[in-house]
Symmetry: C2
Subunit: 148 residues, 2 copies
DNA sequence: AAAAGTTGGTATTTATAAATATCAATTTTT
DNA sequence: AAAAATTGATATTTATAAATACCAACTTTT
């Protein structure tokens, strides 16, 4: 609990995060613009990154550099995550939700306006937090279908 | 029925297929080497393509050129197809099957040796035939989880 | 209030995925 | 048996995704 909290605490300013990841500041902003990550934002518009953020971005880097999956490929894979199952959306909610029928962007990029997600902070949502790792999404689907 | 049979009939030699798709012969071979497609092979090693093959390859081209998903991205998305659900594999079969735990290649590229797939011709398998289209996989998963 | 860092933007560079060209050997067709 | 097409393989080119560099305006820190 406590240690997880620590991992989620936004502590690194963008320059420090970039150094930890061995990439440029601009690349971090690009990932954000592409909806791969949601850094914490202070009262002003300055970004802060947590240990979990760094891990997540390392996964993204590995997908790009080792697995040779393009950014749009990663977005499409993210878009396959059945968020509605995790959040137990009602059939009504689903029918209203743009994220339910999407197939290009992660749910946090296109969440429906009338759904239970609308007012949520996606950064602290389990769908965003626990399924950023490459491979965790298919694991979720496999388990869900097997336990069926 | 009859018309579907016609669409599946391997009739175009590689040069004709390439012309229909407006790509080079070598690109077609590359897609095959990357396990995106399984063309029909005559007694010798010559390839033949069907109308369905052409459609499938058009989908792949659209994913690459329009959606900007890399070939490895497409392979990863194919690998997320729950083939074991379509084929109703037993728990025993699943536990033996490399395709069940994969996350890089489509099932037809790594089917398990001891499974019901082992001796099958993947080209004529519903998993290969019906889920080559971009977006059909997430549709399958969504439906399966919703009907749950 | 001066120094250090961040912002968003455009323009440029780099790395490499995707596609093409070329080849001799083999197969098919006529 | 000659002509046309396909095979696999390597080497090369092209297109573009991903990353970098640079900028003036703004924010934070000391």
């Amino acid at each position: 609990m406590l240690s997880e909290e620590k991992n989620d605490r936004p502590v690194y300013p963008i320059r420090t995060a970039a150094k930890l990841l061995n990439i440029s500041v601009h690349t971090l902003r690009m990932y954000e613009k592409e909806d791969l990550i949601i850094p914490f934002k202070k009262s002003t518009s300055h970004r802060l990154y947590s240990k979990s953020d760094i891990e997540r971005i390392n996964c993204i880097r590995s997908a790009i550099n080792d697995s040779k999956i393009s950014i749009n490929g990663i977005k499409t894979i993210y878009s396959m995550m059945p968020c509605w199952e995790v959040l137990n959306c009602s059939k009504e909610d689903r029918s209203k939700c743009a994220a339910y029928l999407r197939h290009n962007s992660p749910c946090w990029a296109i969440k429906g306006e009338d759904t239970i997600c609308a007012s949520k902070d996606c950064r602290s949502c389990t769908v965003y937090q626990d399924y950023g790792e490459c491979g965790s999404i298919i694991k979720f689907i496999r388990k869900k279908l097997t336990d069926l």
